[in-house]
Amino acid sequence: MSPLWVVRRIGFSVLVAVVLAFFAVPMLWLASAPFDSKPGLGLRWPDWTFANVVATFGHPYALTSLLNSLVLCVVATVVTTVLAALAAYALSRVRIPGRDLLLYLLLLLSSVVTGTAAMVPIFVMMLQLGLINSQFGTALVIAGGMLPAAIFILKDFMDAVPRSYEESARVFGASPRQVLGHVVLPVARPGVATIFVWAFVNAWGNFLLPFLLLRDVGRQPAAVLLRTLYDEGGSANLTVIPVFSLLYSIPVVVLYLFVNKRYGFRFHGGIKS
């Protein structure tokens, strides 16, 4: 063991520790502040009280907004997953005239037209359609934004499903619907699940679109309410914010753990994998 080796080893450990701290320290607040009797925008050892939790559950909009988030999210996610799965399957398997151009445009659209760049026309359009404060309308806008990327990712999964599966089913007499239901969807399930989770996490965290389109506090999802709590009545509502942040984060973390455990951020298809 040369001295150089030891120095390098120490340097390496310090580097890893710094990186670990950089990513971990900001998150500690989410563990400490909710249970602190005097929660603030800073880090300190909490005295493990549940008063904030009680206060949060008593807040007139806290639970409603989580429910609103759920409604918004479920509609947007289901619409995205179902429509993307159908489109991706057809685009993967059938050479529709103009398919390549369509795929190119979808890829272009999914990256160019962001909610930020199109916020003004989206707002004006929804205003003129009278859909401001409509949760369903907002969910559709969110779904429309996610669809191109979802179709693209799912098409990759569908492309990886061996064609011989479908051909085999067809030779045995399966109708297109049976091919889809018995073979393609079950085999592509990891892909569909991935898109479902991806869409859910995206829609759950989306702030800009509901912030623009849902102006009525009774219809706002958690993302917007959490922001409202910051300057509601002049100063931040620090009793509610930490607990509410935690509650609002839990679904995303649970889904992440689920995907990580079930699919390990890797994807598997047929028996050959």
């Binding site: 061996p162 011989s164 599966y165 051909e167 085999s168 089913a169 067809r170 030779v171 045995f172 007499g173 399966a174 109708s175 049976q178 018995h182 073979v183 079950p186 085999v187 399930r189 047929g270 028996i271 050959k272």
Partner: protein
Amino acid sequence: MAGITAEGLSTVYPNGVRAVDALDLEVADGELFALLGPSGCGKTTLLRTIAGLEAASGGVVRIGSRDVTRLQPGDRRVAMVFQDYALFPHMTVAENIAYPLRVRGAAKSVQRETAVRTAGGLSLGELLDRRPGQLSGGQQQRAALARAVAASAEVLLLDEPLSNLDARLRLEARTFLKKLQRELALTTVFVTHDQAEALALADRIAVMDSGRIRQLGTPREVFQRPADTFVANFIGSTPMNLVPRGAEVIGVRPEYLSPAADGLFTGTVSVVENLGVTSLVTLDCGEDQIGYVVPEDDEPRVGATVTVDAPPARVLRYDKETGLLVR
């Protein structure tokens, strides 16, 4: 039970490639028939056209007396085993085997019963509740065969049925396949690029190239009298010697050549390769290289001069221009 007839059958891909080119073919009822050829010769496309997975661009396919040319694959009463077996990974072996019955809406009890019976016949009885991913290659192949058998089709189509198995298993599976086909007496067409497999298994072989049939015959006919130089080159585990002589090309299999005092070719031994019970000897005869096979322990020394000859009946003559067999 039914034979298969193709008349003037063509399959043209959108890019203009004629994968199957105005082909006529008759497979007899109960026959085990091989489509043999190098990759890209159109043999798999022909099989898929018979199955209905590719659309015929022209001509007719009949199964028995039924014209199936415009029918969907599921309406043709064919069963097919794919090269990768295409066992559905999310279903158990039993569910896979019973799938053809499930599609037809058979009762669950009938499905299970058929799966158990068919699996028993292919010694898969122990594996019914496993998933394909838990099976060995040979077991997967048998499960795929079982599923095809359970479809009780009139015709069985096999796409490279043995190519996904390793060499040792392949022999075993080959014997098994031949026995199974004899028991079922089911008209069976299989595609292969392996001439030894075709020779060993098939009742008759069609050797294909560029979407056409170069020769159609029994394994013996195809081996002993290849119809042209292409087939001569393709069939046989050691390549046939093809030596130009004037307007003809002389073809002799290395296995039929043996040392003699006087004979067809004389040359210097340049390489000796051990093939097990025999050895392949290469002779340099001027511009040509001649191979011949000797029994073990009978190998000549490298550098020795050797003359080899063959019985006249084993010496074939091909036209140099057309490559066709003259005599």
